[in-house]
Amino acid sequence: MYHAIKERVTELLSTGEVKGFLALKKDNGHIKPHLYVSPDEIDQLSIGDGETAGDARYPLTKILTMLLQNHSGEPFGILARGCDQRALRALAAWNQISLEQVVVIGVACSEELARACNCGLPYPDEWLEGEQIEPKDPRPVEWEEKSPLQRLDLWRAEFEKCIKCYGCRNICPMCFCKECSLESEDVVTKGEIPPDLPMFHLVRALHMIGRCVDCGLCEEACPASIPLRALYKKVNDIVETRFQFRAGIEQTEQSPLHKIAEPPAAI
């Protein structure tokens, strides 16, 4: 399986074009994130399809950011879906990585995964595996139909389930702050479960402005199954409606809410 990808990775590693290639590997009955440094291990390469399509997706871009920052100057390769490509572009716009040091091998998401995941663009610019599936409307519509009071009750019930594991923040490829405000006592009181409702979640949602690329890893990492994607998708929609900006779409575009600039004509 995945012959085209395996061939290309073997080529990249044997010619030394990349120091290592970040992808997934079938290991001990599981699928794990793995840095390939030699073509010998390439047989076990996986693109993250376990029992169902895409059920073993990992934040490869987060690992890549860490590797690039620890080994500046060395090129690395990475297996990237549509969301990973957006993450790479957004990370470059935030000056966390340099795209010249990254060689991308693209994977387009299958129809099953594209519908289940429901992101804005389930395919990268080029891909060696997969098919182009056009996305359906990724807006969180079901929430719009409820009254504000219903929404308040529903969101409160969801936030109440939070066990403050920081999983959403730990797994997010766009969370790279050295000092996270969610760990600051001024924002979230220490030792409370659930954490300061609704502060914790609204602060995180606000910090996702200009960062969230809608990869969906946060919701998958939440042990309480809080519908985080709906919240962050809404933030993305607000930013797109007001400022015509979406993270990771344009290569070099910086978030307009994070630049000291002239105020916009109308808010």
Partner: protein, 135 residues
């Protein structure tokens, strides 16, 4: 530069969530939950997310310690084992087996907890064996 992801089980509670330790040049620097593990399905609690921190923590004990003149001082394994064995025998003779109690740990394996139970009941002869999770 050597980056590995090592499959392991969380050492904290009895759930046994599957996770990958991120090891960079021999140092455990991060944790990633295992998506394909049927127990946690890619999710972890706050303790599990920080399991990499204690693995090579500088505060971990590397030598046995014996209290001499009120302060804990480093010693060798031989000295520590001899001291423990002789003192346990003395106390057992002087005050009976039930004057000794054993506290097992949630961070060791089931097999190791079995050994301490057997030691308490068969070797020392007391039922006073309990586990830190019950406290």
């Amino acid at each position: 530069m050597d980056y590995k992801t090592v499959l392991t089980t969380c050492a904290y509670c009895g759930c046994g969530c599957g996770l990958y330790l991120e090891v960079l040049d021999g140092q455990a620097i991060g944790t990633i939950p295992s998506k394909t593990n049927p127990i946690n399905e890619g999710k972890l609690c706050v303790k599990g997310w920080n399991i990499h921190e204690f693995v090579q923590h500088p505060k971990r004990l590397t030598k046995p310690l014996i209290r001499k003149n009120g302060t804990l001082t480093e010693s060798s394994w031989d000295e520590a084992l001899d001291y423990t064995a002789s003192r346990l025998k003395e106390i057992k003779e002087a005050h009976g087996s039930d004057s000794i109690a054993f506290l097992a740990s949630a961070k060791v394996t089931n097999e190791e907890n079995y050994i301490i139970m057997k030691f308490a009941r068969a070797a020392v002869g007391t039922n006073n064996v309990d586990h830190c999770a019950r406290l």
